[in-house]
């Protein structure tokens, strides 16, 4: 019964960036505004080819900066357009101010991020410092494991962002080079199936200053003021509403993921968390993005050797699926959280903070340690992942944590 609803698909050889561009092409996007930055550039290059060849009904704006790229997407979105952009690293950092304005204006812009290290020193290679630094900007963040999931996530992102209970911008994060530049087989849905799935953008009705109920957008027929100044008597309520939308996004991400699974035949855990051999796991790691592929290979080996190892891949980092993390990791003895970024002066990396924090409320808590890895594009291999699990086995046996924060593959 499940399989009957699955659409016929063709397999294309695409790298992660091309998978993004192909998905955006199918999503009936009205405006794409972008600025080049490695390793994201291929996304907008491919997309501009679609525009040049008349394959899409999309206005493409090559702005003079990332700040203006996101501004143009935001303004287009508030005018009623479905808008998309892509960035990475320094480009995302330059957008920082506008990330908050975009979520604050409740503009459902979708952005792909080819995760890349932040300068200095200048480094074009992959890590997740760029998006981790924006985790409080009010954007939904979805991290993909492979090019297939990149394609699927972009399509889902428009539905999630534009959902009337959510109305928040969304980032789809793909590891720079590991995903952005690696070619994989990607099954793509027919254009009309995607078009039907994403649908035409709907607008919630709001009360205008003239006392009329009108769609929330800049419309000469129904003038409204968007982006006003709100002082201490109102500002706080605006922010609380954003948090409420994030909470609601947890369920929407799951629903959209499940609905998409029915037409594509592909699913990623429950859409929020991808649990791998966690039911009876005694030791487990937690990671985001493409590293999960390497970790899964190690888990397979360990399972074959009789070690009860597992993995929790966090797909939705914002909103953080706290209950799911508690449920899946609650019975594990030792958890190793892998961070591909640093929170200087904090106690470990951002993912470590969040996961350990989520587990704190449990009566019986696993021991949780942090492994920081892969910064600036440094390779992380099977041997290193194996060493992490060996370390976790020792922690589980000794029931004692000697060093809560460790660095993987670092010369010290």
């Amino acid at each position: 019964m499940f399989m009957k609803s699955v659409a016929e698909q063709k397999v294309l050889a695409l790298n992660g960036n091309e998978a993004v561009a192909y998905a955006v092409k199918q999503c009936d996007v009205d405006v794409v505004a972008a600025y080049p930055i490695t390793p994201q550039t291929i996304i907008v290059e491919r997309f501009s080819e679609y525009v040049a060849n008349g394959e899409v009904e999309t206005a493409f704006v090559c702005t003079e900066s990332e700040h203006s790229a996101l501004t143009a997407c935001l303004a287009a979105s508030l005018t009623g357009a479905r808008a998309f952009t892509a960035s990475a690293s320094a480009g995302l950092a330059l957008m920082h101010e506008m990330l908050f304005v975009t979520s604050g204006c409740r503009a459902p812009v979708v952005m792909a991020i080819a995760n890349r290290a932040l300068s200095a020193p200048l480094n074009i290679h992959g890590d997740q410092s760029d998006t981790m630094a924006q985790r409080d900007s009010g954007w939904i963040q979805i991290y993909a494991e492979n090019a297939q999931e990149v394609y699927d996530s972009v399509i889902q992102a428009f539905r999630i962002a534009e959902h009337p209970d959510v109305l928040l911008p969304a980032m789809v994060c793909l590891d720079g080079f590991q995903l952005s530049h690696s070619m994989e087989n990607v099954s793509v849905l027919p254009d009309e199936v995607v078009k039907k799935f994403v649908g035409v953008r709907q607008f919630p009705k709001v009360l205008t200053h003239e006392g009329k109920l009108a769609p929330l957008r800049l419309d000469p027929e129904n003038p409204m003021t968007i982006g006003p100044v709100a002082f201490p008597n109102y500002y706080f309520e605006f922010k609380r509403q954003q948090e409420e939308a994030m909470r609601k996004a947890v369920e929407v991400i799951r629903q959209v993921h499940n609905e998409y699974a029915r037409i594509s035949g592909r699913s990623y855990g429950d859409g929020l968390l991808d649990a791998y051999y966690l039911e009876d796991a005694e030791i487990a790691t937690v990671c985001l993005g493409s590293t999960a592929g390497t970790v899964k290979a190690v888990v397979d080996e360990l399972r074959a050797e009789g070690v009860k190892a597992g993995l929790l891949r966090i797909r939705a980092f914002r909103p953080l699926p706290v209950e799911g993390i508690q449920k899946t990791l609650g019975n594990v003895k030792a958890v190793g959280v892998m961070d591909r970024s640093m929170s200087f002066g904090g106690h470990g990396g951002a993912v470590f903070h969040e996961v350990r924090h989520a587990l704190y409320d449990l009566d019986k808590r696993p021991m949780v340690v942090n492994y920081i890895y892969g910064l600036g594009g440094r390779d992380t291999n099977l041997t290193q992942i194996r060493a992490i699990y060996k370390d976790l086995q020792e922690i589980a046996q000794k029931r004692r944590v000697e060093a809560p924060i460790k660095y993987v593959g670092l010369r010290e």
Binding site: V61, T71, V101, P220, P228, Y234
Partner: protein, 321 residues
């Protein structure tokens, strides 16, 4: 391209409904607020307005109130032109796809001198280079008035501000205004003009021309600020006249690269004896008070020299020398 007959007599203007409404929180004597009202009197049909962070944004949209009876967007300080490019692009594609009513929509971006000369110039330069069809209006009150009178690239030579104070050894701002309108002309856009609210009809016509032209248009409006200029709140409009009469702020248009003086400045070009000394303009503003002390009085001559030099350059560009 003129799309409808201009009806800009005083009677027409009074009868036309305001899109910038009263009840805003601007200071007494605020010329920028008058400028907003005049700009909106010039619209010819469906119009979307976007405003950079600054006085005119803050005084007019304190939630849950608004002074704008036009669709209106503010997002940040440095990006009014980028807002306009997003709005204009969206309108075009949504019309093409049949998602919105198939009608032309004018887009006006408004920013102060900080949001234009300084932090906003990158987005402005980029948006006009891309050729978006919008009008950018700079209301120039010659400093960051909203944050408390700090100097900007538009602050004139000798003016005291809170970050270019007149001290024992430094006589206020040491640099003349950046020639922003000429910089916009250098972008080879179809329409650039300067305007002053004293000459209200000239201002309204220039807004309309900027909307009617296809492609980017730029209008530089001098807008006195009594708080920052330390001037009598009842004299703001008079000051905006004096700036023109002294040639501190001449009125001109540049249509497709051709400069021409507007009537109030042309009168002075034709009869140079009508050109008033800058001293008259400076003397009624507290921000120049220190220039009338023996220590710094030579700077008045320097301001006169630079004003004359710029005026001569302008006359040459207009083919009047």
């Amino acid at each position: 391209m003129q799309t409808e007959e201009w009806k800009f007599t005083a009677k027409d203007i009074v009868e036309k409904p305001d899109l910038f409404m009263s009840g805003h929180r601007a200071c007494a004597g605020c010329a920028p607020a008058t400028v907003m009202r005049l700009i909106l009197k010039a619209v010819r049909g469906p119009t979307i307005v976007t405003v950079a962070t600054g006085c005119m944004e803050v005084v007019s949209t304190t939630y849950p109130y608004t002074s704008w009876n036009a669709p209106w967007l503010h997002t940040a300080f440095e990006n009014a032109a980028a807002n306009a490019s997003g709005i204009e692009t969206a309108i075009k594609i949504l019309r093409k796809k049949g998602r919105i009513k198939d009608q032309h929509v004018d887009v006006i971006a408004i920013a102060g001198d900080g949001g234009t000369y300084d932090i906003g110039i990158q987005a402005l330069s980029g948006a006009v280079e891309r050729g978006h069809d919008f009008l950018f209006v700079l209301y120039d009150n010659e400093a960051y008035m909203n944050t408390g009178i700090q100097r900007s690239g538009g602050t004139p030579l000798g003016a005291a501000t809170t970050t270019s104070p007149a001290g024992e050894v430094i006589p206020g701002k040491l640099e003349p205004k950046k020639p922003i309108a000429d910089i916009m002309v250098a972008h080879e856009i179809p329409y650039v003009a300067t305007a002053s609210p004293y000459y209200w009809r000239d201002l309204i016509i220039k807004v309309r021309k900027g909307l009617e032209v296809e492609g980017p248009a730029f209008l530089h409006v001098l807008a006195p600020c009594p708080r920052g200029w330390r001037s009598d709140p009842s004299k703001s409009i008079e000051l905006s006249r004096l700036a023109v009469e002294t040639c501190v702020f001449p009125l001109w248009e540049c249509i497709n690269g051709e400069y021409q003086l507007s009537a109030p400045s042309k009168v002075i070009a034709m009869a140079p004896q009508k050109k008033k000394p800058v001293k008259e303009y400076l003397a009624v503003q507290g921000r120049f008070r220190h220039l009338f002390t023996p220590k710094y009085e030579k700077l008045v001559d320097e301001i006169q020299r630079i004003t004359d030099l710029r005026w001569q350059k302008l006359l040459k560009k207009c083919g009047l020398t």
